[in-house]
């Protein structure tokens, strides 16, 4: 599904503080895989996920999405990728604080141009999956961390993406909520979506089928 060929990412290229964040990354991701990306802080996990998420472009190397080079995609096409094919979950939730749960989850569908009437059932369905249906009309700022992250996951899967990318999704959660969120990821994975989780947490790493260990911008180990 995804293939990375010799991907390099250099921050502040050409300046004094030039920094090689990713060096010669080669990687395959297949449909239905559950992958953990681990490594020390600063190893390049987030950088890798940003590139996978079409949030950022590599400086060299080729990112293939079903054999199509993403490097050729326009900004607009990249945006549509994020909207339709890739679900993104991050540590600090990235939810609009003064929108309700419903409005937040609805946002990707609005951007995709779905009609209001067509949205409702789907939103109810994903809110049911993450167990947030009774909070639909709550503002985000009234929720707990676990509830926020479940809302974020609902939003990530609302447009039925092929892959969900999660950067430290449990970093801000306690152990009970961590368990609940991990269960959601496992359920998603079982329903056929690929899941990639960047994490420090060895417990989470253990629950993934494939582990990518990173160090100083390189993949050290692949298991």
């Amino acid at each position: 599904m995804i293939r990375l060929d010799n991907i390099n990412k250099i921050y502040n290229k050409g300046r004094k503080n030039e920094f090689y964040a990713l060096i010669d990354i080669n990687l395959h991701i297949y449909p239905g895989e559950m992958i953990a990306v681990t490594g020390k802080s600063g190893a390049g996990k987030s950088t890798l996920l940003n590139i996978l998420a079409c949030m950022d472009r590599p400086d060299s190397g080729i990112y293939y999405w079903y054999d199509q080079p993403v490097g050729r995609f326009s900004e607009k096409r990249m945006a549509r990728m994020r909207n339709e094919k890739i679900g993104i979950v991050v540590q600090d939730f990235a939810l609009i604080e003064d929108f309700t749960v419903y409005e937040n989850v609805s946002l990707p569908m609005e951007i995709a141009g779905r009609k209001r009437s067509g949205r409702r059932d789907k939103i109810q369905e994903v809110l049911h999956i993450v167990g947030m249906e009774s909070y639909a009309n709550c503002k985000i700022r009234e929720l707990s961390g676990g509830q926020k992250q479940r809302t974020a996951i609902a939003r990530a899967i609302i447009n039925e993406p092929d892959i969900v990318l999660a950067d430290e999704p449990t970093g801000a959660l306690d152990s009970d909520n961590t368990k609940m969120v991990m269960q959601l990821f496992k359920d998603l994975n079982e329903s056929g979506k690929a899941v990639v989780i960047a994490t420090h947490d060895p417990d989470i790493t253990k629950q993934c089928g494939k582990i990518i260990e990173m160090e100083d911008g390189r993949i050290r180990q692949h298991t």
Partner: protein, 408 residues
């Protein structure tokens, strides 16, 4: 959708936006004021342009004229004598009346002045009427007059009588309008900076003890057919503009100049060219006093609104980058920001318009704010400059790479 999201952002940081709108509003009002002063001065100058924009002389005849044949008994008005000696010149002036104004049987202590039509027209656009109307086309048998606020209680519709010193017949004068207290009339107005168009305008408020009666020369010449005395009792006094014809030979000109130098007993005399130049200089000085201050003021506020808008964009850049995560392109995010700016501008215009109307209602008499093409143009210019400036700055801020990453 962009509009909706933009509106929500505005609602979210409404305090900041309120501040921004107020700042911009002040800028607009200052600009409108500035433009009003400019256009107001220019407009007054422009009104006199047809009089002073020619070759000839301005003569201040406040003490009256002493010209050949001026002694009584010639049966001629002063104007006709001038026209006889300056046959090709065009004369525009104010007149005093050889006669008294009576109300019932009492003589009024009133400053009555008769104006040539050109001056009546200029004054008509300048003065403000409290009751009744300004002069209109009159072909009746009555002489019309406009009076200032007066302690005789004379008002619209009242009739006073004019009796010439040399006659007994009383000529009715109907008052058609009453001036506002602070009206501006045409009358010599001495100032240190002589002589420009501003010296011809006189605000009644500066002289509250005096009452003015304004009459038009037209009425006198129309009725003079039946009553020749009417023309003879008018005598040029006050402002006298002698316009030379466009094509005047040097010889003729020298003759005219000599006549004026030798025969008019004059307190103040200036060529029209000098008056025009001094008028222009006067406008320029007025503008030099006020425009730079207002300009700096406007620039400073615009700058500060630009700074505020940077703070503002920082406040919702988080949300913009969330929109990007869920599938908007960066361009769309900029578009939301653009919508925000446009809404702000529209709100500002609405607030400015309201503030403008309120101020006009409250401070009717002292208001220098006016609407007009110049004002609109200046505001539009500021709006465009602001839009561009703010968007460029915001674009720079928003283009910072780190703001668009997943972990924000």
């Amino acid at each position: 959708m962009y509009m909706r999201l933009a509106l929500r952002e505005i609602k979210r940081s409404r305090k900041l936006f309120l501040f921004l709108i107020l700042q911009l509003c002040v800028t607009f009002l200052a600009a409108i004021g500035c433009a009003s002063v400019v256009s107001g001065q220019y407009w007054r100058y422009d009104a006199f342009k047809s009089i002073i924009g020619k070759e000839g002389w301005f003569v201040n005849t406040n003490l009256g004229l002493r010209i050949p044949e001026a002694d009584a008994g010639t049966g001629r008005s002063g104007r006709e004598i001038l026209e006889k000696y300056l046959p090709d010149a065009n004369i525009i002036c104010t007149y005093s009346i050889f006669g008294d104004i009576f109300m019932d049987d009492a003589v009024l202590d009133i400053d009555s002045t008769v104006y040539d039509p050109e001056l009546i027209d200029i004054m008509g656009a300048e003065t403000e009427i409290a009751e009744g109307r300004w002069f209109a086309k009159n072909d009746g048998r009555e002489i019309e007059a406009v009076i200032s606020q007066n302690y005789y209680g004379l008002t619209e519709g009242d009739v006073v009588n004019l009796v010439a010193y040399a006659g007994e017949e009383s000529i009715p004068i109907r008052i058609v309008g009453v001036l506002k207290e602070d009206s501006t009339v045409i009358k010599m107005n001495y100032s240190s900076d002589m002589v420009g168009y501003h010296n011809f305008l006189y605000n009644l408020q500066g002289d509250p003890g005096t009452q003015f009666l304004i009459l038009q020369e037209e009425d006198f010449s129309r009725l003079a057919a039946a009553n020749p005395q009417l023309k003879e009792i008018l005598w040029p006094q006050g402002l006298l503009f002698i316009q030379y014809p466009d094509r005047i030979s040097d010889e003729e000109k020298a003759g005219y100049d000599n006549f004026i130098a030798d025969n008019l007993e004059i307190r103040l005399k200036e060529t029209l060219e000098t008056v025009d130049q001094k008028s222009k200089r006067y406008i320029k000085r007025q503008l030099n006093d006020i425009v730079p201050v207002l300009l700096v003021f406007c620039i400073m506020i615009v700058m500060s609104t630009v700074c505020v808008s940077v703070i503002e964009v920082r406040q919702h850049i988080t949300n913009l980058s969330i929109y990007r995560i869920v599938g908007m392109s960066r361009k769309s995010c900029f578009l939301i920001q653009l919508c925000i700016n446009i809404i702000i501008l529209c709100l500002t215009m609405a607030v400015t318009a309201i503030a403008f109307i309120v101020m006009q209602r409250l401070g009717k008499d002292m208001i220098i704010w006016n609407t007009g093409i110049l004002q609109t143009a200046v505001c539009a210019f500021i709006a465009v400059v602001w839009m561009i400036l703010v968007f460029v700055v915001q674009y720079k801020v928003m283009n910072k790479h780190e703001l668009w990453r997943m972990n924000i």
